[in-house]
């Protein structure tokens, strides 16, 4: 069973090429991400639920009763069909984003990670880059896949998706960006909280519960500033990233898609900063 210990050492110790690099860390995080079942399940769920929901909506929406549908409504309907599932798939992204880091704290893997990357922060940034990019790509595949699959069904609703309309395409890309950034938000919370259950609960609390709480508060108090502030919550701001804005009647308090992107980025950056400071200071 036990192999001889004769060849434990490469003879050429001094001139080996092995060295810690950020490229290597990215590769390591990629291997870690794709070698876990939870990753595969979460991404599969995002694709299946995303496309499935789009098809369901396209098939069950009622046909228009009166004449031709205006262009702005057509565009906005087409975007909605492709992105409606984000309300659910974002939760899978949140759970996965959290597990990417809390799974390591829970199992003790984080000590292997920090032993290999003792300065620690490159490992955190590597996780964010790899998870963020992968989730963005999965989001793109899901949303564009949904748009393509449902395209033949939409004319029944009086809607013809226009794949040359920049506002339409931007909204679809924005949806994928939202999916990735919400996941990174959760990853940062995971790095701060370090326990899976606590981190998932915290992240979902901010994404799902907080908007409702703010809504109730604003309804009770009738305070306008609360309504205005609510637009800057991570989920509310992020959701503007996949709004179809061409010809939209700008509602009061609503951010432009690029503003929504900046607000969500600011949330992510702040949490990542806190996570980085704590990761550097705390014992692993």
């Amino acid at each position: 069973m036990i192999t001889s210990t004769q060849h434990s050492v490469s003879a050429d110790r001094p001139d080996r090429l092995s060295r810690l690099t950020f490229g290597g860390i990215l590769r390591s995080e990629w291997i870690k991400l794709v070698s876990l079942r939870s990753t595969i399940w979460c991404y599969a769920l995002i694709v299946v639920v995303g496309v499935g929901f789009g098809v369901l909506i396209a098939l069950t929406s009622p046909a228009p009763t009166t004449g031709a549908v205006p262009d702005a409504i057509q565009g906005s309907t087409a975007v909605q069909v492709a992105t409606l599932a984000l309300g659910f798939t974002a939760l899978a992204s949140v759970v996965l984003g959290t597990l990417v880091i809390t799974g390591e704290y829970g199992t003790g893997m984080i000590r292997s990670t920090f032993a290999a990357v003792p300065t620690r922060l490159p490992a955190l940034f590597g996780k964010i880059v790899v998870f963020g990019m992968t989730t963005f790509v999965v989001g793109l595949v899901t949303i564009f896949g949904t748009a393509l699959v449902t395209a033949p069904m939409l004319p029944g609703l009086g809607v013809t998706p226009d794949f040359t309309d920049p506002a339409y395409l931007l909204a679809l890309v924005g949806g994928a960006g939202y999916l990735a950034l919400v996941g990174v938000f959760a990853l940062a919370i995971g790095a701060i909280v370090r326990h899976s259950a606590g981190a998932i609960a915290s992240a979902l609390g901010v994404i799902l519960v907080l908007p409702t709480v703010v809504l109730i508060l604003s309804a009770i108090t009738q305070a306008e500033w609360i309504q205005r502030a609510a637009a800057f919550l991570p989920d509310a701001a992020g959701s503007r990233m996949f709004a179809y804005t061409a010809g939209e009647v700008a509602a009061a308090n609503s951010l432009a898609p690029w503003q929504g992107l900046l607000v969500l980025l600011a949330w992510d950056a702040t949490l990542v900063l806190v996570a980085a400071v704590l990761m550097k200071r705390r014992d692993a």
Binding site: M1, I2, T3, T5, H7, S8, V9, S10, R13, R16, L17, S18, R19, L20, T21, G24, I25, R27, S28, E29, I31, K32, S35, L36, R37, S38, G103, E104, T107, G108, M109, I110, R111, S112, T113, F114, A115, A116, V117, P118, T119, R281, D283, A284
Partner: protein
């Protein structure tokens, strides 16, 4: 080469490591011994920067661990077998750890072969036995072909064959000029593996010497004495040789009140002293001191958790 200088780690008011200084030299196996809770694991975590020192410093080959360009090639570390994600296969774990340093498939397969993990390499780590987890931890430590190995309780959970394997691996790596630092709470294990021993008790170094010296340090050879005049002889020995470190240990068994053990004096001297006082001896036997006994006597006041809930005076004082 590992150098610790006045290294301390406090958790709140508890001093896990308390002003420890030592040097672990290349080309030797250095054993790190101490009872449970003595601070061995904390010290090892400080070496690779997983815990931040409260004060003092520790360097590996002249630099803090984190300052090296290829940390995995400087120090291979086995902290505990659980530092592995249970949902991943052994081979993917090693590939992921190695990838940070550009260490690829070839070396991963090499360490898998070396640690005898071939048959389980593709299985998920969650189903591993303690021994298999330990082998995987050692495989990960060897990935970077490191000049220094820090292994915390490497034989924990291994079968006798595995224990032998760790022992010969440690010996061989040391003979190649590497620095080998391994901890254990079993002196007998260290006696077979280590050249040099650092004993830690309650966060402090209580001995740092070659294996042979450790035995001598704690009194060396014991002499078993059986006499009907146990009390008088004990008094006499303690009084006569004040300059030496004479210790009289009462008989271990209560139904033998006439037996006790003496350290710090040889059998001939005890016999002469007894004769000059006119005390009859029924037995006078030198007992070769074992490392285990040496260790027990070194750490008897340093044990953090006594069985049976007995608390020593010194323990109460520091808490």
């Amino acid at each position: 080469m590992i150098e610790a200088r006045e290294l301390s780690k406090h958790y709140g008011s508890k001093k896990a490591v308390d002003g420890v200084s030592f040097t672990v030299r290349p080309g030797k196996v250095t054993g790190f011994l101490g009872p449970n809770g003595a601070g061995k694991s904390t010290t090892m975590r400080l070496i690779v920067g997983l815990d931040r020192a409260t004060s003092g410093s520790v360097t590996v080959n002249g630099k803090p661990y984190a300052a090296h360009r290829a940390p995995l090639s400087e120090v291979g570390v086995l902290l505990d077998a659980k530092a592995i994600h249970t949902g991943r296969s052994a081979v993917n774990h090693l590939l992921a750890v190695g990838a940070t340093h550009g260490i690829g498939r070839t070396r991963v397969d090499e360490v898998i072969g070396l640690t005898g993990l071939d048959s389980v390499a593709r299985k998920r780590v969650g189903g591993f036995s303690l021994g298999m987890g330990q082998r995987l931890g050692i495989a990960a430590a060897l990935l970077g072909d490191p000049a220094t190995l820090v292994l915390d309780e490497p034989v924990n959970g291994l079968d006798p064959e595995g224990v032998m394997w760790v022992r010969s691996l440690a010996r061989q790596l040391a003979s190649e000029g590497r620095t080998i630092f391994l901890s254990s709470h079993l002196m007998s294990e260290m006696a077979l593996t280590a050249d040099h021993i650092i004993v830690l008790g309650r966060g402090r170094v209580i001995a740092d010497a070659p294996v042979a010296d450790i035995v001598a340090l704690s009194g060396g050879t014991l002499v078993r004495v059986r006499t009907p005049h146990a009390a008088r002889l004990g008094e006499l020995l303690a009084r006569t040789e004040l300059g030496t470190q004479v210790q009289v240990h009462p008989g271990s068994s209560t139904n033998e009140p006439d037996v006790f053990q003496v350290s710090g004096l040889d059998a001939a001297r005890i016999g002469e002293l007894a004769a000059s006082a006119g005390l009859a001896l029924h037995e006078l036997t030198p007992v070769a001191g074992s490392l285990e006994e040496a260790y027990m006597s070194l750490t008897q006041n340093e044990v953090e958790y006594h069985a049976g809930g007995t608390t020593s005076a010194s323990e109460g004082a520091s808490q």
